[in-house]
Amino acid sequence: MPLTYRKQKLTGWGQYLTSRAEVARPERRLEVSDALIRPSNIDGSVVARGSGLAYGDAALNKGGRVVAMGRLNRFLAFDSTTGQISCEAGVTLGEVLDVCIPKGWFLAVTPGTSRATVAGCLACDIHGKNHHVSGSFSEHVVSTNILTGNGNIVTCGPNLQEDLFWATAGGMGLTGIILDVTLQLRPVETAYVVAKNIVTRDLEETLQQIEALSSSYSVAWVDGVARGSRLGRGIIMLGEHARITDIPADQRTNLLNLRKRRARSLPFGLPIGMLGRPLALILNELIYRSAGKKTALSHVVDAYQYFYALDTIDNWYRLYGHRGFLEYQAVLPSPHALGAIRQMLEILHQTGCVSFFTSVKQLGASSRGHLSFPAPGYAFSFDVWAGDDNILSVLNRCDKITIDAGGRVYLAKDARLSAESFRSMYSRCDDWLAIARRYDPSGIFASDMSRRLGLSS
């Protein structure tokens, strides 16, 4: 029986791209297979959607069908001695943490939001602040079940049906519908993180220090508006999971239980994009100075506060007003990173595009995912208001710099990369296409993103 569909307007997290699709919302596992049945009155392809946090059009499918997986969110198994946890596609990372922290386990890799689903994390092969140490999300997936285009449910993993697994890790949901995921967690002694901030004076020092300061977690906030000799100055934020001995002896109770925070939401859009440069200048200066005072002192913060600061406002995209924003995130191999990042910051300054949030982090070795983003080097990202007239041409210039440096743009955050640039960045694209066609011969899985990037017709 075909699923019931409802026409809905869907948006990427950046609010920049919107399209209408027929949306189904299965509540039982058996219903998901019905997504392959094309209802007589609807044309087109299908793509799964989790929490809808991809910034661009990865989970949009104009005129086609979208399968919302949020209601398939049951935990299937958890072994608290080995730290292996199995759950359905729609379980969020926050839910995983609620279950595993009290038992002394933590996600091996986490992005900056706990609201992403496990299937979304695998499909984007997300990375965290510890990529240089722990690699990407897919490298901690033990196995996964995928409904493929020919109607089979295939169990795959790094050692089982590897071709499908590595095409799915970073495959943006285009190899099939991920039904469940089994993860290997990492042990922790407490639910806290020992954090430390290091202030840097310019871009060169920022990059040098990121590499020199060895820490499990590290990310640099960069002052997106500082120019001249201060270009690229920032704060390097380091973190380690706190051990029991890191906590003062009189506070060592309940270290694995965190009080849940309530997310607040913005009631309406704040067009800070339009306020532009003056506001960005003030904000960046304030952030830089406030961190400067705490330099080099270690402090203990709870894990939610450390990893998911932005989750405290559940719709922070509204900060950019109704036109939304674009995030540009590219990885740049080490030898060219300094020059490339400097060029991009200078282009932003010259063209008057203001980045409200700029960051750099170090990435380690790539996973085997064909379309997986992380690669050795530095990941550089900035957010810009989508309302600026020249923003697309500015980002196209950044693409050229990225390609020349041998880097690539992160698809989970992308909303505008051209098919041509995509091909120059992702050299294993043809291998990926061959595998995707094998498991989905009729090309049923497609999204606005796959059509834009030339991954489906």
């Binding site: 019931t4 509540e27 039982r28 596992r29 049951r74 935990f75 198994a77 609620d98």
Partner: protein, 234 residues
């Protein structure tokens, strides 16, 4: 969905849960979810309310475990509402799952129930049972029968201090309403579960969920039949 939410609500407060349902795979997944999230003790019983033998077997299993403190029937199908008046098998299934099955199960439990004071039996019925409409009256008739059954059962069990709750549920944002009802008219399953649990704890007899349906149903029932059948309302 609603049954799942109710189970989560009780499991989170440390209750032991027995889940009964038709799809063993789903039952297993919900059971593992409850035990992982809430460390709850969960047991499952396979039951197909449309099959007499299955209902009887399930009743034996319930009796073997002893009458639970709270029993909630969240059974219901509403597939093929429009064809039902013309299609015997659809109509029969609607009646079986919504009315015949639950009452058959209850008949097997009744004598034990009479000696279990303090027990609460809740039936999730529907506002569709309050007035027959041309679009869903086979379903509505089954729910109306269930409502009347609840009234009688409540009176029968009152001396034994066993309470019976009729939940008249409006549109809820799950499979049954998805794509058919504007989302703004629906309540979430979490909301409904909370309201039902509250009604159970307050030992209410009849409750509309969401509560505004009480006034809508009152108005619908007040319309004279001769006028009602001419209304364009589906």
């Amino acid at each position: 969905m609603l049954a799942q939410e109710l189970a989560h609500s009780y499991a989170a407060s440390g209750w032991r849960i027995i889940l009964a349902g038709r799809d063993d795979g789903e039952l297993g997944r919900v059971a593992s979810d409850l035990s992982i999230r809430h460390l709850a003790t969960v047991d499952t019983i396979s039951i197909d309310l449309a099959e007499e033998a299955s209902v009887d077997a399930a009743a034996l299993q319930v009796l073997r475990r002893g009458i639970p403190q709270v029993i909630i029937f969240v059974s219901g199908v509403s597939d093929g509402l429009r064809e039902a008046p013309y299609n015997r098998s659809i109509a029969q299934n609607l009646l079986a799952v919504n009315y015949v099955g639950p009452t058959r199960l209850m008949s097997a439990l009744l004598s034990d129930l009479k000696s279990a004071p303090g027990t609460m039996v809740a039936f999730v019925s529907s506002v569709a049972g309050d007035r027959g409409r041309r679009s869903n009256f086979i379903y509505g008739a089954a729910k109306a029968a269930l409502n009347t059954y609840c009234q009688g059962l409540r009176a029968l069990l009152a001396p034994d201090e066993v309470d019976v709750l009729t939940v008249k549920l409006g549109y809820m944002d799950t499979r049954l309403a998805y794509g058919a009802v504007a989302p703004i008219l629906t309540c979430s399953p979490t909301y409904a579960a909370k309201a039902i649990r509250r009604a159970i704890e307050r030992r209410r007899m009849v409750v509309y969920v969401p509560s505004f349906w009480r006034w809508i149903c009152l108005a619908l029932r007040a319309i004279p039949e001769r006028l009602f059948i001419r209304l364009p309302m589906p």
